[in-house]
C-alpha cells in the first residue's frame, strides 16, 4: 500500500511537472463581447455558447446537434402531460456543492423570473415538481413534444450558491450594481471561470472534478473579443491566437493558404430571407399609391423568380452559402428534402408582373442591416440589381443593426415595406418558424411577433396549433410539411440561403464545429 502510495505520489509529481511543462492554453477570439456571466441575462448564441463551457443543462447537444443526456441521465414521458427527468448522481458544482433536484426546481423558477431573457425556455404554466432528490417532473398544461429542445442552453445553477450570494434576482438593466452571478460563475461544466473583464478578456480553467470523461487536453482558455476583422485574422495568422471566428468570406482563402492555419466552413442554422408588407392597404415606402402590390401573390412570386441565388452564392458569398427552399435549415427538419426552390426565371417573373397589372414595374424601398449577417448589404444590392431587370426600382436603405431593428421590429411599428432578415428558431424546431414568422398578427405583434410583413393564412395558424400539441413524430412532421406547402404556395417569404460558418483554426488545434455556431472547448485537443 505504501509503495502504491509512493508510486501515486511520484506519478502525481511527474504529472504536475508534465502539465506545467506542457500546460495547454487555448487562445481564441470572437467579434463580439461576452458581457456578463449570468446565464439568464441574454438569449444570444455567442453568450450562451460561452456559458455552455461553464454551465450545463439537463440536456446537451453533440457536434451534430443531436440531443444527449447531460445533467439528466434519461427522461421519459410518463403521461402525455407529465415528463419525468432522472438526474445524474455525483455531480458537483465548481464550488463543491452537490447537484440535485432542488437546483433544477430553483433554476426553473429563476429562468422564468423577471429580468430573465430566457423566459421562453419553459412555459410559465409548466409546473416543476421534485419527486425525490434525483427525480423531477415537469407537468405541462398541454402536450409539448419539443419541451426539452432548447434546454441545452437552459443552464442549471446552484441554489445554495445563488442564494448565499444574494443573486436570486436576475440583474436587470435598471439595476445600478451587477449582482454576484453576473460577475462570477459556478456551474457543473468542464471549465471554470478564473477571471472575467467584460469586453476585455475572460480566462477559463479546466474543472478537474467534471462528471464526464474529458476529451479535451486544455488547462487554460483565454478569450479576447476582437471586433476588427483585419486584426482578428492577423492575430490568427501571426500565431498569437489558436482560433478566431467568424472569418470574413473574403479572408477564407488567405487563412487557407497561410501555413499553419486552416478555415473550417460549414452551413449555419440561420436562414436569411426577404419579407414583404402584406398587411397594410398601402405600402409605406413605395411608388404605388392606393393599394398594396404585395397583397398579390403574383407580385411576390415575380420577386422570388427574379432572384438568382446561385449567382449570390458564387459572387457575393464566395461559395459559402446554401440556397434554401424553406424558412428553416435542412439540419433542423428531416423532411426538408421534400422541397425545392422555385426556379430562377426572369421572363416568367416579368410575365407575372404584367399579369398583376404592373407592366412597368414600380418602386419600393428595401430595408437591410449592414452589420448583422454575412455580407448583408451586398446581398441587398444584388437583390436590387436583379429586381431592376424586371422593372422594380429598389431604393436600398441599408443601416447598422441598431437603427435597422429599431425601425422594422414591433417597437418601431413595423416600419417597412420590404426587408431582409435572418432567423434561427430558438427551439431548433419548425413550430417556432411557423408561429413567430408566419402566425397572423395584429398591429402590436400579438400572434406572430416577428412576422414583420404581417403574412396571414388562418389555415397555417390552425396547422401550427396542432403541431404544438402533437406528440407523434411522424404525424407531426407531416403536419409541418403541410403547413410549409401552404406558406410556399402563398410565397409568404422569399427564403434566400443559409449563410456559411467560417472559423479560422490553427493547425495546432483539433476541434468540432457545430452548425449553431457555438464553440465548445470540451472537444478541443491541442498538439
Amino acid at each position: 500500500m505504501r509503495i502504491i502510495g509512493q508510486l501515486a505520489l511520484a506519478g502525481a509529481i511527474a504529472s504536475t511537472t508534465l502539465t506545467a511543462a506542457s500546460a495547454e492554453t487555448l487562445k481564441y477570439a470572437f467579434q463580439g463581447t461576452l458581457n456578463q456571466l449570468d446565464p439568464y441575462t441574454l438569449n444570444e448564441t455567442f453568450t450562451l455558447g460561452s456559458h455552455g463551457n461553464v454551465y450545463e443543462g439537463l440536456t446537451r447537444r453533440a457536434p451534430d446537434l443531436t440531443i444527449e443526456p447531460a445533467l439528466a441521465e434519461r427522461w421519459e414521458i410518463i403521461e402525455p402531460n407529465r415528463w419525468r427527468f432522472y438526474l445524474r448522481k455525483g455531480v458537483k458544482f465548481h464550488n463543491g456543492n452537490d447537484f440535485n433536484a432542488d437546483d433544477v426546481v430553483f433554476s426553473a423558477g429563476r429562468v422564468r423570473s423577471e429580468g430573465s431573457d430566457l423566459t421562453s425556455r419553459i412555459d410559465p404554466d409548466v409546473k416543476v415538481e421534485k419527486i425525490d432528490d434525483f427525480t423531477v417532473d415537469f407537468v405541462l398544461p398541454e402536450p409539448n413534444p419539443i419541451l426539452h429542445y432548447s434546454w441545452d442552453t437552459w443552464f442549471i445553477m446552484d441554489k445554495e450558491w445563488t442564494e448565499a450570494n444574494d443573486a436570486v434576482k436576475v440583474t436587470s438593466a435598471s439595476d445600478t450594481t451587477p449582482n454576484y452571478a453576473s460577475l462570477h460563475a459556478n456551474g457543473t461544466g468542464p471549465f471554470t471561470v478564473v477571471s472575467h473583464e467584460a469586453g476585455v478578456k475572460t480566462v477559463y480553467a479546466r474543472y478537474d472534478d467534471w462528471w464526464d470523461t474529458a476529451i479535451h487536453n486544455l488547462d487554460t482558455v483565454e478569450f479576447t473579443p476582437i471586433a476588427s476583422d483585419a486584426t482578428r485574422i492577423a492575430a490568427l495568422l501571426s500565431g498569437d491566437l489558436d482560433m478566431v471566428y467568424p472569418v470574413p468570406v473574403q479572408d477564407i482563402k488567405r487563412v487557407e493558404s497561410n501555413e499553419g492555419t486552416r478555415a473550417l466552413t460549414g452551413p449555419e442554422l440561420r436562414t436569411v430571407f426577404l419579407g414583404f408588407d402584406q398587411r397594410r392597404d398601402e405600402l409605406l415606402h413605395s411608388t404605388v399609391k392606393g393599394k398594396n402590390p404585395f397583397k398579390d401573390v403574383r407580385v411576390r412570386k415575380a420577386f422570388y423568380q427574379a432572384l438568382n441565388l446561385d449567382a449570390i452564392r458564387d459572387k457575393i458569398m464566395r461559395g459559402l452559402s446554401t440556397p434554401s427552399a424553406l424558412m428553416i435549415s435542412p439540419f433542423l427538419f428531416s423532411r426538408a428534402g421534400d422541397f425545392e426552390r422555385l426556379p430562377y426565371d426572369p421572363k416568367a417573373a416579368k410575365a407575372l408582373l404584367v399579369e398583376a397589372g404592373y407592366p412597368d414595374g414600380f418602386g419600393v424601398s428595401l430595408d437591410c442591416p449592414n452589420d448583422r449577417y454575412v455580407n448583408d448589404e451586398a446581398i441587398c444590392q444584388t437583390v436590387a440589381a436583379f429586381l431592376a431587370r424586371i422593372g422594380i426600382q429598389v431604393d436600398l436603405n441599408a443601416q447598422p443593426k441598431a437603427q435597422y431593428f429599431a425601425k422594422v421590429l414591433a417597437s418601431g411599428g413595423y416600419d417597412t415595406s420590404f426587408y431582409l432578415l435572418g432567423w434561427t428558431p430558438a427551439s431548433f424546431d419548425s413550430s417556432n418558424v411557423l408561429a413567430d414568422l408566419h402566425g397572423c398578427r395584429n398591429d402590436k405583434g400579438t400572434g406572430g411577433p416577428f412576422n414583420l410583413g404581417g403574412y396571414c393564412n388562418p389555415e397555417v395558424d390552425a396547422l401550427t396549433a396542432r403541431i404544438f400539441a402533437e406528440n407523434d413524430p411522424d404525424t407531426r412532421d407531416q403536419l409541418i410539411v403541410d403547413a410549409y406547402r401552404l406558406t410556399l404556395d402563398d410565397v409568404a417569404y422569399i427564403p434566400l440561403h443559409q449563410q456559411g460558418l467560417a472559423w479560422g483554426v490553427s493547425n495546432r488545434v483539433e476541434l468540432q464545429q457545430r452548425a449553431d455556431n457555438q464553440f465548445h472547448f470540451r472537444w478541443v485537443v491541442k498538439k
Partner: protein, 325 residues
C-alpha cells in the same frame, strides 16, 4: 492669474453643458438600446417593461435633466450592455488609454523635435529628405491603415511583436500598467507608433518651419556675430523661440491623441476607453457614450487651460505685459 483661471473654469462648465446637450440630442438617432440588450425573440411586453425601467419613455428634456443632475455627482448610471456602473468601466479602461496616449505623445515629441531641428538646419541633406518623405506618409495615410500595415509587417510576417492586446499587466490599486512587463512593453510598440506617427510628423514640420523662420532673424545673426557656438545658437536661442507654437499644438494634440485613440485601439484591440466607446456605439449603450464624451470634453478643456498657463512659463513677454497692466 487666479481670476484668469476662474474665468476659464466657468467657461469650461458652459462648454461641458453644451457637449452634453449635443450628444444627448444625437443619441436619439443611434437606434433603440432595448433591441441590443435582449435576444431577438424577447416578447414585446418584456421590451416595453425594460424601456419603462430605463426611463426611455420619458421626454428627452426630462432624460437630459436627469443625466446632468446625476453627472454633476459623478454618477453616469449603469452600462446597458455590461450592466455595470459606467464610472467603474471607464475607470478600468482609463489607464490603458492614458498610457498609450502619453507614450505616443512622448514618442512624437522626442522624435519630432530633433527631426524638425535637423531638417531645419540641414535642409538639403539626404537624411532630411528621408525624414520629410516619412512625414509625408505619416500625414497622408489614415491611422487604421498604418496600423494594419504595421501588424502585417511586424506580427504576421516577421512575428516580432504581438498583433493585438496589451500583454500582461501589473495592478497598482485601481491603476493597471503594462509598462513593467516585457510582453506589455512589446505590445505597446506598434500601437504607440501608429497613434504617434501623425503627431510626430506634425511636430517635425512645425519645428522645421519655425526653425527656418527663426534662423533668419536678426538676433540669431547677432548671436553668430558674437561668436557663440553653433550648438548654443541652435538649441538655446533658436529652439527655445520655436517652442511656443509647439507647446500649443502638442497640448491640443494630446487631447486629440486621447480622443482619437479610438481607431488605434480598435485596430490593435487595445483595451482602453476608445474601444469601449466603439463597442458602446455598436450596442447603443447610451450611458457609456455620454460619459465618454463628457470625459473627452473635460480633458480638452483641462488641457487647453494647462496650455494657456504654460505660456506664462515659457514666454516672458506675457508675464511682463500682465505685470504692467
Amino acid at each position: 492669474m487666479l481670476a484668469f483661471t476662474i474665468r476659464r473654469l466657468l467657461q469650461a462648465i458652459g462648454v461641458m453643458l453644451v457637449v452634453a446637450l449635443i450628444s444627448f440630442t444625437l443619441f436619439r438617432y443611434v437606434g433603440d438600446p432595448v433591441n441590443q440588450m435582449v435576444g431577438l425573440d424577447t416578447s414585446l411586453e418584456q421590451r416595453e417593461a425594460l424601456r419603462e425601467q430605463l426611463g426611455l419613455n420619458d421626454p428627452v428634456l426630462v432624460q437630459f435633466a436627469r443625466f446632468v443632475t446625476r453627472a454633476a455627482q459623478l454618477d453616469f448610471g449603469t452600462s446597458y450592455q455590461f450592466r455595470q456602473p459606467v464610472v467603474d468601466l471607464i475607470g478600468r479602461r482609463l489607464p490603458a488609454t492614458l498610457e498609450l496616449s502619453l507614450v505616443s505623445a512622448l514618442l512624437a515629441l522626442l522624435c519630432g523635435i530633433p527631426m524638425g531641428v535637423y531638417t531645419g538646419l540641414n535642409r538639403d541633406s539626404l537624411l532630411s529628405k528621408l525624414f520629410l518623405t516619412i512625414s509625408l506618409i505619416g500625414i497622408s495615410l489614415p491611422t487604421f491603415f498604418i496600423g494594419i500595415l504595421l501588424i502585417f509587417l511586424f506580427s504576421v510576417t516577421l512575428q516580432w511583436l504581438p498583433s493585438f492586446g496589451r500583454g500582461e499587466v501589473v495592478d497598482f490599486g485601481w491603476w493597471s500598467t503594462g509598462l513593467l512587463t516585457i510582453s506589455g512593453l512589446k505590445a505597446l510598440i506598434l500601437p504607440a507608433i501608429t497613434l504617434g506617427l501623425f503627431q510626430m510628423t506634425l511636430i517635425m514640420r512645425l519645428v522645421r518651419s519655425e526653425m527656418l523662420e527663426v534662423i533668419r532673424t536678426d538676433y540669431i545673426k547677432f548671436a553668430r556675430a558674437r561668436g557663440l557656438s553653433q550648438r548654443s545658437i541652435h538649441f538655446r536661442h533658436a529652439l527655445k523661440n520655436t517652442l511656443v507654437p509647439v507647446i500649443t499644438i502638442t497640448g491640443l494634440q494630446l487631447g486629440s491623441i486621447i480622443a482619437f485613440a479610438i481607431i488605434t485601439e480598435t485596430v490593435f484591440q487595445w483595451p482602453g476607453m476608445g474601444l469601449l466607446f466603439l463597442q458602446s456605439v455598436q450596442n447603443v449603450d447610451i450611458p457609456v457614450m455620454a460619459a465618454y464624451l463628457m470625459l473627452i470634453a473635460f480633458l480638452f478643456v483641462v488641457i487647453n487651460l494647462i496650455v494657456d498657463l504654460l505660456y506664462f512659463v515659457v514666454d516672458p513677454r506675457l508675464r511682463v505685459e500682465r505685470a504692467s497692466h
